[in-house]
Amino acid sequence: MSLLEVRNLKKHFPIKSGVLKRTTGHVYAVDDISFHVDQGETLGLVGESGCGKSTAGRSVLRLIAPTAGEVTFEGTDVMRASRSELQRLRRDMQIIFQDPYASLNPRKRVKHIIGEPLDIHGIGTDDERRRRVFELLETVGLSAEHAERYPHEFSGGQRQRIGIARALALKPKLIVCDEPVSALDVSIRAQVINLLEDLQNELDLTYVFIAHDLSVVKHISDRVAVMYLGKIVEIAGSDVLYDYPQHPYTEALLSAVPIPDPQTERARRRIILEGDVPSPANPPKGCVFHPRCPRAQEICTTAMPRLTTAGSHAGGEHEVACYFPARFDSGSRVVHKEPFLEARPAGAGAAPEGGAASAPVASE
């Protein structure tokens, strides 16, 4: 059994307007995503701004209440947990935020910031808590003398270490890392990435790693889920995903990332997508990617394709939500783009998932 199971998770934010604040529409931030995370692994959630990756991460922890779906952590139903059950669960599920300037209370000393989770959960005596704070500071590469200082006395990288120490205070099993290195300079970013990797090995942590930087996500993740406009469009082992991307969005995304190697850059062909990401308040009918998709055809405008296993390369699961996934021969070259649902498993039915699945939560 996986440590974390997420099924058909949805988060639709109501749009309210007018004096009466009536709901006039919804932002489909996360729209029916399913994934699982195994003990000790890192699942990367990657996508551009507004794709719903952060909302997904927070919904999983119930920091925001999801609209629908199931989240199971170690067999416990997170969605239906009572207040006290949820508090118990939060010991095991923690989060690290993107902006180390906004996520630490500027008026509290470091020892209080890191010790707060211990206070809230009533763990240990004062003396034990103090010792635990010192221990945590050492764990993240700071020292006990930093405990009395305030956040403004630290650089961005050091603040992020404090945020990590706070997340570790309760000895969690799962940490949702929400863009933890995006605000940091290159040289500091590498320090924090290494720290996260070391902590994972030492403490047997499981990460959901949310980021928009594909190079970072690939480096740290075992498996990667690519999100676009509230949907997971492809999910696979990180090497498989990068070597054999099947979804046209994944391909475009990968080809758009500049690689710090002039020779490689000169040899690359870039797929440049037309236009911008549509508004999640008014997602396109059919496949959400079809208006920008170079392979889109008639069928793509009818319904969102289901995420299905579509051929596996080098083993492991590889799922893609596309009517025309790319195929690979023995080499890594795209050979042909099969015109239809060839890779759908029989059980999933030949027909694409219709509007029925999303009907209960549709706004109109």
Binding site: E48, V186, S187, K218, I259, P260, I272
Partner: protein, 341 residues
């Protein structure tokens, strides 16, 4: 054509603050030719933006001041110009696009007004003509339905479209030099790819020189011809992109390259970060600003700035470690496959 488009020599720009003097740019030199792209790479506080703003003479004074050096545009000394003359240079000869297209566009004016203003300031054009040009420029940078879009306000544009509008404004007077300060940092990768393409097209069309300021070595590898690596206000190394990426000589350049996770490499190698924290710009050592974080530091590093050493044509470094020793150290580094002979 033998004339240099831009030559900056020994530029120093300091900020005189209550806390002390910040030597944001400290003895920096570079040149730029037509159709050439110079990448200036560095982390926050390295002085890369201040160097570019100095060329535009846009340093807020006080507290900032260009204290030394020369800036020569096609043989003309920009430091000697008065403010009126300089205003003619900005826009006409040198234009700049900024990182955040939301804060650099005025939210209460229509996009067309803002582009037309730039046109009317520098060219003898009436309002109607300027508006017509604004629409044309928007179309040229790839904004669909430009005729109607030109009448919209910045909030009606997406981030990528705003950056395109900024580029349209920058190229409106056909400048010789385009300075792009982190033009893609605020944008998503697929939009970043679009903007990079627009910049390349504009450069081909107008034969301008481009100064690209960025922290992203990937963008440099893609767009630039040559690169200058800055740290703590100093240029620590410069050269063609091949020289700097494949034959790097400064420990900071090694550090930067070793810190990057690579999308195109499948085996998982551990990153090699640079130790320590970014420097405090007020307390920079008199010598190499990277001393203190450099693993190979020697006694002389902290107090004296090393002499410039020419590695090859167009490739230079400032470092105390003797060249032979540097090459030995580098050969041991895990993340280098040095390819250039």
């Amino acid at each position: 054509m033998a004339e240099r488009l831009l030559e900056v020599a020994d530029l120093s720009t300091h900020f005189f603050t209550h806390a002390g003097v910040v030597k944001a740019v400290n003895g920096v030199s570079f040149t730029l030719d037509r159709q050439e792209t110079l990448g200036i790479v560095g982390e926050s506080g390295s002085g890369k933006t201040v160097a570019a703003l100095s060329v535009m003479r846009l340093i807020p004074d006080p507290p900032g001041k260009i204290v030394e050096g020369s800036i020569t545009l096609r043989g003309r000394d920009l430091r000697a110009l008065d403010e009126d003359e300089m205003r003619q240079v900005r826009g006409n000869d040198i234009a700049m696009i900024f990182q955040d297209p939301m804060t650099s566009l005025n939210p209460v004016y229509k996009i067309g007004d803002q582009i037309a203003e730039a046109v009317m300031l520098h060219q003898d054009k009436g309002k109607d003509e300027a508006w017509r040009m604004a629409a044309e420029l928007l179309e040229r940078v790839g904004i669909p339905d430009a005729k109607n879009r030109v009448k919209q306000y910045p909030f009606e544009f997406s981030g990528g479209m705003r950056q395109r509008a900024m580029i349209a404004m920058a190229i409106s007077c056909n400048p010789d030099i385009l300075i792009a300060d982190e033009p893609t940092t605020a944008l998503d990768v697929t939009i970043q790819a679009q903007i990079i393409e627009v910049v390349q097209e504009m450069q081909e069309q107008y034969h301008s020189g481009v100064i690209l300021i960025t922290h992203d070595l990937g963008v440099v590898a893609e767009l630039a011809d040559k690169v200058m690596v800055m740290y703590g206000g100093r240029t620590v190394e410069y050269g063609s992109i091949d020289q700097v990426f494949y034959d790097p000589h400064h420990p900071y350049t090694w550090g930067l390259l070793g810190s990057l996770p690579r999308l195109d490499v499948s085996e998982k190698t551990r990153l090699t970060p640079i130790k320590g924290q970014p420097p405090d710009l007020i307390l920079l050592p008199a010598g190499c600003p990277f001393s203190g974080r450099c693993v190979y530091e020697r006694p002389e590093c902290r107090d004296t700035w090393p002499a410039h050493e020419l590695i090859a044509e167009g490739h230079g470094v400032n470092c105390w470690i003797p060249r032979a020793e540097r090459e030995e150290i580098r050969a041991e580094l895990p993340h280098f496959k040095v390819e250039v002979a």
